[in-house]
Symmetry: C2
Subunit: 665 residues, 2 copies
């Protein structure tokens, strides 16, 4: 059991200089937000405060001070925000980020020697203990600080020390412990045992990264003339209708030339006829690739006009970026080594055995860095045409480092660019793509229908760590997803899903046809019958049952109420009926609450008691709140915590703004 | 809006070689256990499996493979454990650590090309697709692997390839997709896009680090003769009694010479009489410091005899390490610069204003590295005397880096040393001391009394991340803590707390007097009246109401049932009475459950229905389980999920072992 040679006083197995380094004494732990130790950026939105928190502590009873240091990468501007101690050892500060782009923050903490002296002296005075030595100590601390300063600060400390001499002991203590003295000392004092947390990156984006309403369409279907292929100019004609519904982003499926080899026919048929337009995702033909426009849609000049027209309507365009090719894409000729082949020399088509995608070829991303640069140049080209939002198709089937790199490249040139990830895949991959840089992401929202499912999912999205990097965009439908709930629920189902998406998330979207309650499926599938992915579908939007009015009202409320501009700040409250989901939304620094109740059952009316969150305002259960019915505009009061509601399928949701009754004194 | 010069195909803002590095493609995320990115060690116990998990994923549909690589720092021995994919992208493996001391693990993941080939080929075969090209591809992969091997592996692959030629196509596919072929290829194949997670440290400790029952006493009180100062030899005489109760660790408060300056009198009085023994924590006098024994207790030879005697009884000694001094400690003379002074040159006593500790002096830990080495040498000295467990007094008032360093230093020489942290402080500090190396920790257990409090606290301790570094030692009382629950609850309260501690935690402890239900307080305080900290207290243990029998039975059950040897594996189940706490404990790889029900109200009997966790074994609600009453030894069966219990104050707990009825076929 005995070890022969034990080290003694002179030696240590470890480097004591390092162990005893001053910056090792104070611990900064559980910093929030931090993503993977700072490896990935926290997402912030201009205008929304970012709360930074940490456990900060050391040994003993010393008083600590802490600051968050924020640096903007572009301007190198540094700002400091003093942290405030809350419960236990938790320190908190709010960052107000003003500029788009990359930032970093770190925390600095140190022993606040003078603050501790003031605290201890005050405690001793309250306990009636002698303060003779404290007088000497305090004066000594000020004198010591004076030595290291110069200019006007030194003069101020000199004045303090001179004044000190003239006072009696009681006033001396008052002077030493005065707030102004303490503030002055905090500014000049040597920061003992100063330590810094590891820097954490922040990516600050413009408002539309976290708050926007999206509308998706196929340009080729927008012709008003039956049988004529739609054009970009036809899209321009649709702008007023779409804007009138309150949408901010017009997202177009790919507008590039479509391949001919193995072109798909209607309903994904393997064979196509001569007039079948093919899948817009089979990108590339003799007419060009990702940087070309399908000739039938128009020209680059038409495109520029569309960009301008959208902007004139207060909207922006989102382009679809699908990093894949039809077998006729020019790059297959120009860069054959980018594309894998089978052992017999034939082209390798996209597949997920046993499924095959014969009209699509995937490049080998690790064949050549030039491939990455070529895709980067495609995005730069469209950015130069004025596009600042890209919806990315299936990013989970391309290398994750590719996305981290290409998003950084584009943002380096165009910092206001927004990327939406369409990664309908398993959670780890979906979330990780957000981590590496996507501004926003499609979600599982489409498949969350019950009160329990929605509560769990919305709670998860609004919690640490997802809240710091994953911004959900709640699409109610897409060309790929015709949810069973809509297939069977009729008009009330469309109202339910629109209200859910529009009130629970800062970002929501719909694919055209939703506003006229289109839901005819391929039998037994989540696909639309006669899917627009493979054929042109012209629509009349003025159907009698359309819900454009309701969508317009929801989008208007979103503009008016900051609480509806984020998926954060959500709290689920009690509504005593499993069919009724009921939640409150809160905006930072706002006292009012937006209350939303939704009947999740499209087939019949439900009613129940529900709880008004009186406790949020410190009101008793029998308190009174003022209420505004945001759908009908009338104002009234609720007396008492328990209220009753009834929601009919024809109007399956209620939205109120609610705040404590102001007593007139 | 236009940026003038956009980079084009030839250039990238970022280093593409690095971005496209093969080890950047696969993501290993959410590794568990990881503590602060690997900065601190995960605690493991020899004989208990350590489960390693991670999300592992890449783009596309490639098949991945992953391994955990474990390395022992001392022996450099490396073992590999293949990870198994579970839900979604979660991979899991169990590590079985055999040797004490420092280890590291990391995860390796790569694209399992051949595994993916086998999977896809099987899917295509099931779908009836042509496999002509797959035959060529598979043969090519084997031939390619053969090129890089030699010796018997190459021979085996040669044999496979030769055999292949002789087969028809159907058998060729069978050969290529056979399990043995796949295993062989896994062993030899180039690991494409190999990536490694950051190494995570593990500190493996012996069983007693996580499973032991502690008994605390003051040696000076152990004399059987009224009025005589107790000695280490008196402690030897107590060993049979303590061991008979089933305790493993005998923890003695400090045994060092006690200072005279400002010595405290009974009940912490500022003045002491000539016969007052003083606080054992005022360490050091003219008789020596931390490496000396208080003369009235005996000699170093007596101490060695005590170490041997404890070992002979199957117990071990724990010494108290308090890194503080009385004003008479020899170091004050020898190293005056280690000790801070007031501005008037006087000694600075320990204080936490307005509280003062006049009999204690704290050194300035940042005055001199020699101070750290001196404390290290103290611990090495006692380790050389055979001590392998140290209970550390108030570690939160000494620098955290000091503990990280001194624990590492001692373990470098004596890897089997165990440190218990007595940090009754705020959560962040308490937990962080465990992170930096303490094997086990005192807790808030003493102040958790209700069903809700206990459920919440035990759940938190057993969850990630605490489960990986914080081992709770549930002391039911200490010389400093005489809990109100015990002061007012009488004998039933002692039984309740003993049963709670002994069945919910692998580590529990009591301070002598608990077994005879001592609880007289200083009025209105958590302190004992006539606290043993300041005076000698001789006790009779054969009181009529003592609970030694119950303690003995609890400690015996802990030895018999692996589920009771850890605070992990706890699940709270329904007992429909707020006074009755009811939980199941599970040991790894065991099918049975230990069920514990405790009436938390010492003042009256409670009864209720409770749920037998039939679902744990996949049994229906009306299933049958066999039960052993571990307190009374009788065996019976429960039919049906809902059973009823009643617990009297005289026997406020029940403990059953329970397993599914084995049907005879």
């Amino acid at each position: 059991m005995y070890v022969e040679r034990i080290p003694r006083l002179e030696s240590s197995t470890f480097d004591l200089d390092q162990v005893m380094a001053p910056d090792a004494r104070i611990i900064i732990d559980h910093v929030e937000p931090v993503i993977d130790g700072g490896r990935y950026a926290v997402k912030a939105t201009i205008g929304s405060p970012l709360t930074v928190q940490a456990d900060i502590f050391a040994d003993g009873h010393e008083m600590l001070a802490a600051t968050v240091v924020l640096q903007c990468e572009e301007s190198r501007l540094v700002t400091r925000e003093q942290m405030v101690r809350t419960e236990n050892d938790r320190y908190v500060a709010e960052l107000d980020i003003q500029q788009e782009g990359a930032h970093t923050f770190h925390i600095e903490a140190w022993i606040d020697v003078y603050g501790g002296f003031v605290r201890d002296t005050q405690r001793k005075r309250e306990a009636g203990q002698s303060l003779a030595l404290e007088l000497q100590e305090g004066r000594g601390l000020v004198a010591q600080a004076r030595e290291k300063t110069s200019g006007c600060v030194r003069e101020a400390l000199d004045a303090l020390l001179n004044g000190f001499e003239a006072l009696d002991d009681g006033d001396r203590i008052h002077l030493l412990t005065a707030d102004e003295t303490r503030q002055m000392m905090r500014a000049v004092e040597h920061r003992l045992f100063l330590t810094q947390s590891r820097p954490q990156r922040i990516e600050a984006e413009r408002t539309a990264a976290s708050f926007a309403s999206w509308y998706e369409l196929f340009p080729r279907s927008q012709s008003p003339q039956r049988g004529r292929h739609g054009t970009l100019r036809d899209v321009i004609a649709q702008l007023p209708r779409i804007r009138a519904m309150g949408f901010d982003v017009l997202y177009m499926t790919p507008i590039h030339p479509i391949g001919h080899t193995n072109r798909k026919g209607p309903n994904n048929a393997l064979a196509s006829g001569p007039n079948d337009p093919g899948s817009t995702y089979a990108i590339g033909s003799q007419d060009g690739g990702h940087d070309a426009i399908h000739p039938e849609l128009g020209t680059i000049s038409d495109f520029r006009d569309l960009v301008s027209a959208a902007r004139a309507h207060g909207m922006e365009l989102a382009l679809d970026f699908a990093a894949q090719m039809s077998p006729d894409h020019p790059w297959l000729e120009q860069h054959p080594h980018w594309f894998p082949r089978r052992p017999d020399g034939s082209r390798k088509y996209a597949e997920n055995p046993p499924k095959k995608y014969e009209d699509i070829v995937n490049p080998d991303f690790y064949s050549d860095p030039k491939l990455w640069l070529a895709f980067r140049d495609v995005l730069l080209f469209w950015a130069e045409q004025g596009v600042r939002t890209f919806r990315v198709d299936n990013p989970h089937t391309k290398p994750i480092p590719f996305w981290e790199w290409i998003i950084a490249e584009i943002k380096a040139a165009f910092p206001d660019t927004i990327f939406l990830s369409e990664a309908f895949t398993r959670p780890a991959r979906m979330m990780h793509l957000a981590k590496v840089g996507f501004s926003q992401s499609y979600t599982y929202f489409t498949w969350r229908n019950t009160k329990a499912e929605l509560t769990e999912y919305l709670t998860e999205l609004a919690a640490n760590p997802l809240r710091y990097y994953f911004r959900p965009n709640f699409f109610v439908n897409t060309p790929d997803i015709n949810p069973p709930f809509l297939q069977t629920g009729g008009r009330p189902a469309f109202l339910i899903r629109a209200a859910l998406a529009a009130t629970s998330s800062g970002l929501w979207g719909m694919y055209s046809g939703f506003e006229i309650c289109e839901a005819a499926p391929l039998p037994g599938r989540e696909e639309y019958a006669d899917s627009e992915k493979y054929q042109i579908r012209q629509r009349r939007y003025d159907t009698p049952d359309n819900i454009a009015g309701e969508i317009t009202q929801l989008n208007m409320l979103r503009r008016l109420e900051p609480a509806l501009q984020s998926h954060l700040g959500i709290t689920f409250h009690n509504a005593f009926n499993d069919n009724i989901l009921y939640y409150a939304k809160t905006a930072p620094d706002r006292e009012d609450r937006i209350l939303v109740a939704i009947n999740l059952d499209p087939s019949c009316a439900h009613e129940c008691d529900f709880e008004v969150p009186m406790w949020d305002w410190g009101l008793p259960d029998e308190g009174t709140v003022d209420v505004e019915d945001l759908l009908h505009g009338d104002a009234f009061s609720w007396h008492g915590k328990l209220q009753r509601l009834r929601l009919e399928p024809s109007q399956p949701y209620a939205i109120w703004r609610c705040w404590p009754r102001q007593e007139t004194a």
